[in-house]
C-alpha cells in the first residue's frame, strides 16, 4: 500500500495518463508563452489519443479484427497472408486504396464529392475529444460533453447525404434519402435515452474524478454501472446507435444487396477508404461513449486502483465493438419502413416511459433520503428497473402485434402429389 502511495498522482503514475501530460504541460508553461502551450496541449491530446486508442483500435480491431472475427463466424480464415496472422493487412489495404484510381463520374458535383469524405472524417476525430480515458486524462473536459457528443455525432450524416447526392447516381440518392430519414428518426429516442441518464446522475459531464461530478464518477460513487440501473435506456441507445452507424441489421443506407453500396456507390480509392475507415472510427467512438456512460467508463469497481484506467476503457470499448461485429455477422437487414416503425412506435414510447420512471425514481430518492443520496435506493431502483424493462419490452411488443407462436416455421408435409392443400383452420380447442 505504501508503494502505491508513493506513485499516486505523480507523473510516472501510468494508471492515469493525465498525470504525465499535466506534468509536461506544467513544465512547458514555465518556459513558453501561454498560447503556444495551448496549441501544444491540443496536439498532444490528439497524438496521444490517436496513438493509444484510435490507430491501434481502428487498424487492428476495426479493420483486421472485424474481418477475422466475421471470417471465423463464416467458417473461413479471414485475412492471413500479409504478415504474421495477417497483421499487416490493414496497412496493405491502405496502400492499395491510396494507389487506386479515384474515379469521378462525369455528372458528379465534383466539389461536393471531394468535400464529403473530409466532412465525414473531421467529426470522427472530434468525437474522441470528450471520451475520458482516466480521471485526469480527458482531452477536452467540457461540462456539457454529452451534448457535445450528440451534436458532433449528428454531423457525419450530412457528409453521407451530400456525398451520396453529389454523384448523380440513383442508388446513391436512395442511400442518401434513407440515411437522412433514418438518422432524424433515431436521433429522438437516442437523445431521450441519454436524457434519462442525465436525469439520474444530474450531470452532463462524461468523466469526472474525485471532487468533480461526472457520469463515470457517479457510477464509481454508487458502485453500480448504469446498464444495471437503466437497462432500457442502454438497449434503446444500442439500437439507435447501431442505426445511426449503419451497422447491420440497420445498414439500409448502404444496403449492399439492394442499393449496391448506397451513398458509397461511386466512391473509390482513398475517398472510399476514408468513409470506410471513419465508419469504424464512429463505431469505436460510439462504443467508447456507450462504455463510458453505461459500463462505468474507466472505472472497474475499485480495480481501477490497480489496472491502468485507459486499459479498462479500451477493453470495454472493444467488448462493445465486438457486439457490433457479432450483429453484423449474423443478422439480416430490416426494411426502411420497419426501421421507421421500430423507431417511432417502439423505441420512442419506451424511451418516454423510461424517462417517466427515472424521473419518478429521482423524486422518490430525493424525498426518501432528503438529499443525502445513498446506495440502498440505487440498488432497489436497479432491481425495479430491470424488471420493469423486461415487462415493458414484452408488453409493448405484444400490444404492437408481435406473435411469435403464430408463425409456423416448418412447412407442412404431404405424402402424395395432389393439387392445392388448404390450410387447416386454426383449432382453438387445444387451449
Amino acid at each position: 500500500m505504501s508503494l502505491l502511495m508513493l506513485i499516486t498522482d505523480n507523473w510516472y503514475d501510468i494508471r492515469d495518463l493525465g498525470n504525465v501530460s499535466h506534468e509536461i504541460l506544467y513544465q512547458l508553461d514555465r518556459v513558453l508563452p501561454y498560447s503556444l502551450v495551448y496549441i501544444i496541449a491540443a496536439l498532444m491530446g490528439f497524438v496521444a489519443s490517436f496513438l493509444i486508442f484510435v490507430l491501434p483500435s481502428q487498424l487492428f480491431v476495426g479493420v483486421l479484427g472485424e474481418r477475422k472475427i466475421i471470417g471465423r463466424m463464416q467458417s473461413r480464415y479471414g485475412p492471413n497472408r500479409v504478415g504474421k496472422f495477417g497483421l499487416l493487412q490493414p496497412i496493405a489495404d491502405a496502400i492499395k486504396l491510396i494507389q487506386k484510381e479515384a474515379l469521378t463520374p462525369k455528372a458528379a458535383d465534383k466539389a461536393v464529392m471531394y468535400i464529403a469524405p473530409i466532412v465525414f472524417v473531421a467529426p470522427a476525430v472530434l468525437l474522441f475529444a470528450v471520451v475520458p480515458f482516466g480521471g485526469h486524462s480527458v482531452f477536452a473536459d467540457i461540462p456539457v460533453s454529452i451534448v457535445y457528443f450528440i451534436a458532433i455525432s449528428g454531423l457525419p450524416v450530412l457528409a453521407a447525404f451530400i456525398g451520396g447526392w453529389s454523384h448523380a447516381n440513383k442508388y446513391s440518392l436512395f442511400g442518401s434519402m434513407r440515411i437522412v430519414a433514418m438518422t432524424i428518426s433515431y436521433e429522438v429516442p437516442l437523445v431521450l435515452s441519454l436524457l434519462s441518464v442525465v436525469l439520474i446522475t444530474g450531470t452532463m459531464r462524461l468523466g469526472g474524478h474525485d471532487g468533480i461530478d461526472g457520469i463515470v464518477q457517479w457510477q464509481r460513487d454508487y458502485h453500480i454501472w448504469l446498464i444495471f440501473l437503466q437497462p432500457l435506456a442502454f438497449l434503446i441507445y444500442f439500437f439507435c446507435v447501431s442505426a445511426e452507424l449503419n451497422r447491420t441489421p440497420t445498414d439500409i443506407a448502404e444496403a449492399e444487396s439492394e442499393i449496391v453500396a448506397g451513398y458509397l456507390t461511386e466512391y473509390s480509392g482513398m475517398k472510399w477508404g476514408l468513409f470506410y475507415g471513419m465508419d469504424i472510427g464512429y463505431a469505436l467512438a460510439a462504443a467508447a461513449f456507450a462504455s463510458t456512460v453505461f459500463l462505468g467508463g474507466w472505472s472497474m469497481f475499485g480495480l481501477d486502483r490497480w489496472i491502468p484506467s485507459w486499459l479498462i476503457i479500451i477493453a470495454k470499448t472493444h467488448l462493445f465493438y465486438f457486439i457490433f461485429i457479432w450483429t453484423r455477422g449474423t443478422l439480416p437487414r430490416l426494411r426502411i419502413d420497419q426501421l421507421m416503425t421500430f423507431a417511432w412506435k417502439f423505441l420512442l414510447p419506451l424511451s418516454l416511459a423510461n424517462l417517466l420512471v427515472i424521473a419518478t425514481e429521482k423524486v422518490i430518492w430525493n424525498k426518501a433520503t432528503d438529499g443525502n443520496f445513498d446506495n440502498f435506493w440505487v440498488y432497489i431502483f436497479a432491481a425495479v428497473n430491470i424488471l420493469l424493462s423486461v415487462a415493458a419490452v414484452f408488453i409493448w411488443a405484444r400490444l404492437l402485434g408481435y406473435r411469435p407462436e403464430a408463425t409456423p416455421k416448418r412447412p407442412r408435409l404431404v405424402n402424395t402429389a395432389s393439387g392445392y392443400v388448404p390450410i387447416p383452420a386454426p383449432s382453438r380447442e387445444v387451449r
Partner: protein, 368 residues
C-alpha cells in the same frame, strides 16, 4: 417513406447488381421507395443452345445441358437423357437409375444450399449463411469430382445410364456426408427461420396465391410454397422414385418465407432419399450400350424431372436423323419469373430484391 411523394423514376436493378445472381436486369419504376412498375430484361447470356443442339448428335448434346442451369447440371443431364431414352425407348439398368437418383438428389441439396444462402444474403444477412451453405455445397461438389472429375458441369449421365460406375470411396464418403447434412439444415434453420428480422423481411412479402401459381405455370418450390402439393418425383415417378419414401413439403400462403422453408425441408427429404438409395444400391451394370450415332425413330417426346427449381422438361422431336430435329428446354426459373411483376409491384425496392431472391433464378437457364 411512402408518405413522401416524389417524381417517379426508373431504377435499373442490374445487369450488374449484387442481387441479380448474374447478368439479369429488372427495370423498376419507383415512386419514393415504392415500386409502381417492373419490367424484366434478359438475354445477356443467351447462347441459343436450342439451335446449336440441332446440329449435334444426341450424345454430344449432353454437355449443353450442363451449361443451361450450371448449378444443377446433374438434374439437367438426367432430364435430357430421360427424354432421349423415352424417344428411343431405351431401358436403363437398375444400378444406373439408382446412381442417377443419388446424384440428382445430391445436386438438389447443393442447389438449394446455394438458393437458401443467396436468398438470405439478399435479405441482408451479410454472407454468413451463404458461407455456411457453400461449405456444405463444397462437400457435395467434392463427391461429384470424385465420381466424374468435374464439380460444376458434370456431364455424368449418359443415354442409357451413367458414364462411369461409382468409385469405391464414394459410398463411405457419401454416407458420412449424409449423416452431417441434416445437422447443417437445422443450423441454418436456427440461424434464419427463427430470426425475427428474417421473418419480418420475408413473411407476407412476394405472396403468390395458389390460383396464380397454378395459372402462371410455376413449378418447384414456387408452386409448393403456395400450398400446391406437386412434385414430379411423386406424381410421375422416374428412375424408380416410387421405391423411396419421402414427403412433399408445402408452404402456407406462398410468400418468400414459405419458399425458403420448403427448400430447407426438401434438403432433409433429399437426404432421406439418398440414404434409402445408398442402402438399396443394386449391383449390376451401370449403363446399357447405346450406339454413339443414335437415330431414334420419328416422333416426339417430352420428359420431365423435378429439378431443384421445378419441373425441368425436355421436348425432343426426331426426324430419324442423328441429331434432334427440335430440342426444347422447359426452363423452370425462366417461367417462374413470370410472376415477378405481381410479386413486386406495390412493394418497396428491398422487397423486390427479396422476391427476386426467393424465385431462385439461374441466368444461364433463363437465357439458355
Amino acid at each position: 417513406m411512402n408518405a413522401l411523394k416524389s417524381e417517379p423514376f426508373v431504377l435499373n436493378i442490374g445487369p450488374q447488381h449484387p442481387s441479380t445472381h448474374g447478368v439479369f436486369r429488372v427495370k423498376v419504376t419507383v415512386d419514393g421507395e415504392r415500386i409502381i412498375d417492373a419490367e424484366m430484361v434478359m438475354g445477356y447470356l443467351h447462347r441459343s443452345m436450342e439451335k446449336l443442339a440441332e446440329e449435334r448428335t444426341y450424345t454430344q448434346n449432353i454437355p449443353f445441358t450442363d451449361r443451361t442451369d450450371y448449378l444443377s447440371s446433374m438434374s439437367n443431364n438426367l432430364g435430357y437423357c430421360l427424354a432421349v431414352e423415352k424417344l428411343a425407348t431405351i431401358e436403363v439398368p437398375d444400378r444406373g437409375s439408382a446412381i442417377r437418383v443419388i446424384m440428382a438428389e445430391f445436386q438438389r441439396i447443393a442447389s438449394h444450399c446455394m438458393a437458401a444462402g443467396a436468398f438470405t444474403n439478399d435479405t441482408g444477412a451479410w454472407q454468413t449463411p451463404v458461407m455456411w451453405a457453400f461449405r456444405e455445397r463444397e462437400k457435395i461438389l467434392d463427391l461429384f469430382e470424385m465420381t466424374c472429375g468435374a464439380r460444376l458441369t458434370c456431364n455424368y449421365m449418359r443415354i442409357g445410364g451413367v458414364a462411369f460406375d461409382l468409385p469405391k470411396e464414394f459410398e463411405p464418403h457419401a454416407r458420412k456426408l449424409v449423416d452431417t447434412l441434416p445437422g447443417f439444415v437445422d443450423e441454418l434453420e436456427g440461424l434464419m427461420s427463427e430470426n425475427e428480422i428474417f421473418l419480418a423481411r420475408t413473411r407476407g412479402v412476394a405472396v403468390v396465391p395458389h390460383e396464380l401459381a397454378a395459372n402462371a405455370s410455376l413449378a418447384g418450390p414456387m408452386l409448393r410454397g403456395s400450398g400446391i402439393a406437386w412434385d414430379i418425383r411423386k406424381a410421375d415417378p422416374y428412375c424408380g422414385y416410387e421405391k423411396y419414401d419421402f414427403d412433399i413439403p408445402i408452404g402456407y400462403q406462398g410468400d418468400s418465407f414459405d419458399r425458403f422453408i420448403v427448400r430447407l425441408e426438401e434438403m432433409r427429404q433429399s437426404v432421406k432419399i439418398i440414404k434409402q438409395a445408398l442402402d438399396g444400391l443394386p449391383s449390376g451394370p451401370h449403363s446399357t450400350q447405346v450406339p454413339l450415332a443414335l437415330r431414334p425413330p420419328k416422333g416426339e417426346a417430352y420428359a420431365r424431372v423435378e429439378g431443384p427449381r421445378g419441373e425441368l422438361g425436355y421436348y425432343l422431336v426426331s426426324d430419324e436423323g442423328p441429331s434432334p430435329y427440335r430440342f426444347h428446354i422447359r426452363p423452370p426459373s425462366f417461367i417462374n419469373l413470370s410472376v415477378l411483376k405481381q410479386m413486386t409491384v406495390g412493394h418497396s425496392v428491398a422487397d423486390a430484391i427479396v422476391a427476386l431472391g426467393s424465385v431462385d433464378i439461374v441466368v444461364g437457364e433463363i437465357d439458355r
